[in-house]
Amino acid sequence: MYDSWRHVVKKRKKKKKSRPSALFTSDLLHLHPPQLSQEAGLSQQEALEVLQAVRSGGGGASVSLTALELLQKEAETRSIVTFSSRLDAALSGGVPVGKTTEICGTPGTGKTQLCLQLAVDVQVPQCFGGVGGQVVFIDTEGSFLRQRVTDVGGAAVRHCSLLVEDEEQRVAMTTFTVEDILSNIFLVHCFDHVELLAELHLLPDFLSDHPRVRLLVIDSVAFPFRRFDDLSQRTRLLYGLAQQLSAIATRHTVAVVITNQMTTRVRGSQSQLVPALGDSWGHASNIRLLLQWSGSQRLATVVKSPSHADATVQYQISSDGFRDTDQSGAG
C-alpha cells in the first residue's frame, strides 16, 4: 500500500512536489486537485493526472461490492449461537458476525453471563455447526472471572462431546477443551476511557495478525464513560468509538458485542429506565438486546434490529451458562 510515489509519477512532477511531509501515495489520496496544485506548485491539469495515477495504482483500500456479493458473503458467515434456542430463533441464528450487537440491562440481569457464553460459543468447532473462532475480550469492570468461564466452557465441552457422531467431530473435540477455550480468549482489562480508546486504536493491527478472531466483546462500554463532566466531549468520543467498532466489524468480519448499563430518565413526574450513554449512542449498534426481570422471570427482548421483528423470549442462567427455561416455567 505504501508505494513510494516515485514509481507512480514522472520525474518532472516529482521535482515540483516540495511538501516534505508527503512521502507516500496514501498522503495524496486525501487531497483534492486544487489543493495538490497549490501545495506542489503544479498546474490543475497536472495535479489531476497525478491523483488519477495514484488512485488507479492501487493506493486506495476501498473495494466496491454488489449487493448480491454482500448477500452471499452474509450467508456464508455463520452467526454465533447463544445456546438458548429461543433467543437464537429471535435473532435468526444467533449473534451475527460483521455487525454490532448491544446488550443493555440493569445490574444482575445477565449481560456479562451472555458475553461469557458467546465467548465460549464462538469457539465451538465448525463441524458442530459453530464458528470455530477466537475472542478478544475487553473487560472494563473486572467481572471476567476465570471460575465462571471454566463453568461455562466445561458445560459447552460436555454438550459437544455428547453430540460426537463421526471421526471429524471426534478429532475436533481433542482441541476443544476448557484449557483450549481459555487460551483462545485474548483478555485485557481497561481501567479508564483512555486505555479503552488506546486498546481500540491498536486493535485493527492485532486482528490482522490474528485472523481467526470472530468475536470482540467489550464489557461494559458504559462503565468508563459514566463519569464524564463534559457531555459534548463524551458524545464526540462515543461517536468516534462507534465508527471504529463498526469498521472493525465489517473489515475483519468480527461480531462486536458491547454491554451497556441502564439509567433513569426523568420526564416531568415520570421516570423511565433507558439505556445509558445518551440518545445518540442508540445509533451505534445494529442490534439491541434488552435483558430484564419481570417478576421472577428473565426476559430478553430484541429491541432494535434491521432484520428481525421485535420479540421477547424467556431465558435462564444456570450453572452451565445462558440457557432456555424449562417448559414448566421454573426460571
Binding site: 511531509s21 508527503a22 507516500f24 496514501s26 498522503d27 486525501h30 440493569t106 445490574p107 444482575g108 440481569t109 456479562t112 453471563q113 478478544v136 475480550f137 469492570e141 473486572g142 467481572s143 471476567f144 472471572l145 476465570r146 471460575q147 465462571r148 468461564v149 463453568d151 481459555l182 487460551s183 483462545n184 480468549i185 485474548f186 483478555l187 485485557v188 482489562h189 481497561c190 481501567f191 476511557h193 483512555v194 486505555e195 480508546l197 488506546a198 486498546e199 486504536h201 491498536l202 492485532f206 462503565f223 459514566r226 463519569r227 466531549q233 464526540r236 468520543l237 468516534g240 448499563q261 441502564m262 439509567t263 433513569t264 429506565l273 445509558a276 430484564q292 426481570w293 417478576g295 421472577s296
Partner: protein, 339 residues
C-alpha cells in the same frame, strides 16, 4: 505519561508542543482530522503519533486468558465453610462488593470478621495483609473486635493454633472515622492508597456508604449526589483494581413500595439504598436479612440471619442461613437447633 518518555520524530514532537497537547491521553481523545488540523501534520504522521500514544497508554497487551495472573482469582475467606461455599471461596479481589441489610442484621459483624480473616496467609484463605476500616456513622466497635480476636481459635479451627497466636491482629486493622463526604474523599485519595501501596492492607471496608450520601443531599439534589457517588465509586474501583484488593461497602436498605419490574425477584420488601447509579458500580451484591426464628448452638442462642447473593458474575442466586455467635458470624450447620 509525559511526552518526553515516548520515542517520537522531533518534527512530530514540535507539532504536538505547538498544539498544546499536554497529556499523551489527550491525543487519543481527539479525532484524527482535528489532530491534523491542530498540529498541521500529515495523515500518516498523525497515524504514527496515535499509534505511539496508544502503545504508551495501554497498560497490558492482550494475553490469552489462560495465562492471566492468578492474582485476580484470589478469594478472601469469610471464616466459615458454609458461607464460603455460598461465595465459592470468598469475596473476590479487584471489584467492589456490597453488603446491604437492615440495621441489626449483622453486617458490621461480618465486616469485623473479614478484617481478621484477611490477615491469615493465602493458604488459609487470607490475603496476608491488614485491613482499613472506614467508619462513617457509628464509632468503631473496638471491644467487639477484641472479643473476636480472643475467640479466633474457636472460629478458625482449620488453622493451627500456633499460627493464630503468632498473628498480631489488632496491629493490622487501621481505623478511620470520616464524618462527611469531603473527609471521606481525602481519606480515600491520600491515606488509603498509601497503605495499599506499601502492602500493609488488602481489604478496605466502608461502613456505611449510604450514611453520608443520604444525609448530605436533599431530595432534589440527586444530580449532584449521583455525580459525587460516581466519583466515590470510581475511586474505590480504581483502588481495588490497581492494588488487587477486596473492597467491601456496607449499605443500608430502603423499603420498596411499588414492585418495579427492574429489580428482580425480591425475597423481601427491601432493596439496597442509593439507587441504580450505585448498583451499576457494584460487582458483587450480597444481602443480609434478619429472620424471626432463633437458633441455638451449645450454650449460645442467636437470632437467625440469611446471607443471600443478589447478583455476582460468578455466583448463583442463592442464600445460606447464618447466625452471629460470640466467635463471629457462622453459617448454620446441621448440629444447630432452630426454635
Amino acid at each position: 505519561m509525559k511526552w518526553d518518555q515516548l520515542e517520537l520524530d522531533p518534527r512530530i514532537r514540535a507539532a504536538v508542543r505547538r498544539a498544546e497537547l499536554r497529556r499523551v491521553g489527550d491525543v487519543l481523545c481527539v479525532s484524527a482530522l482535528d489532530l491534523q488540523r491542530s498540529t498541521g501534520l500529515s495523515h500518516s504522521d498523525v497515524q504514527r503519533l496515535l499509534a505511539t500514544a496508544a502503545g504508551a497508554c495501554r497498560r497490558h497487551p492482550l494475553v490469552p486468558a489462560v495465562l492471566c495472573g492468578g492474582q485476580r482469582e484470589l478469594r478472601l475467606t469469610v471464616g466459615c465453610p458454609v458461607l464460603d461455599g455460598l461465595l465459592r471461596g470468598g469475596l473476590p479481589v479487584g471489584g467492589v462488593t456490597e453488603l446491604s441489610g437492615e440495621s441489626g442484621a449483622g453486617k458490621t459483624q461480618l465486616a469485623l470478621q473479614l478484617c481478621l480473616c484477611v490477615q491469615y496467609p493465602t493458604q488459609h484463605g487470607g490475603l496476608d495483609a491488614g485491613a482499613v476500616y472506614i467508619c462513617t456513622e457509628d464509632p468503631f466497635p473496638v471491644r467487639r473486635l477484641q472479643q473476636l480476636i480472643r475467640e479466633q481459635s474457636c472460629l478458625r479451627s482449620d488453622v493451627p493454633p500456633s499460627l493464630i497466636s503468632s498473628l498480631q491482629f489488632s496491629d493490622h486493622v487501621y481505623i478511620e472515622h470520616t464524618a462527611d463526604l469531603d473527609s471521606l474523599q481525602v481519606c480515600l485519595s491520600r491515606r488509603v492508597p498509601l497503605l495499599l501501596a506499601r502492602g500493609l492492607v488488602r481489604l478496605v471496608v466502608v461502613d456505611s456508604v449510604a450514611a453520608l450520601f443520604r444525609s448530605e443531599f436533599q431530595a432534589d439534589d440527586w444530580l449532584e449526589r449521583n455525580k459525587r457517588l460516581l466519583t466515590f465509586s470510581s475511586i474505590l474501583h480504581h483502588l481495588s483494581q490497581e492494588f488487587t484488593t477486596t473492597v467491601l461497602c456496607i449499605n443500608q436498605v430502603t423499603d420498596v413500595f411499588s414492585r418495579s419490574d427492574s429489580s428482580g425477584p425480591l425475597s423481601s420488601n427491601m432493596s439496597p439504598a442509593l439507587g441504580l447509579a450505585w448498583s451499576n458500580q457494584v460487582m458483587v451484591r450480597l444481602m443480609m436479612r434478619r429472620l424471626q426464628r432463633t437458633v441455638v448452638r451449645g450454650d449460645q442462642s442467636s437470632a437467625l440471619r440469611r446471607l443471600e447473593v443478589v447478583f455476582a458474575p460468578h455466583l448463583a442466586r442463592d442464600g445460606r442461613d447464618a447466625a452471629v455467635w460470640r466467635e463471629g458470624v457462622g453459617g448454620v450447620c446441621s448440629s444447630d437447633t432452630e426454635t
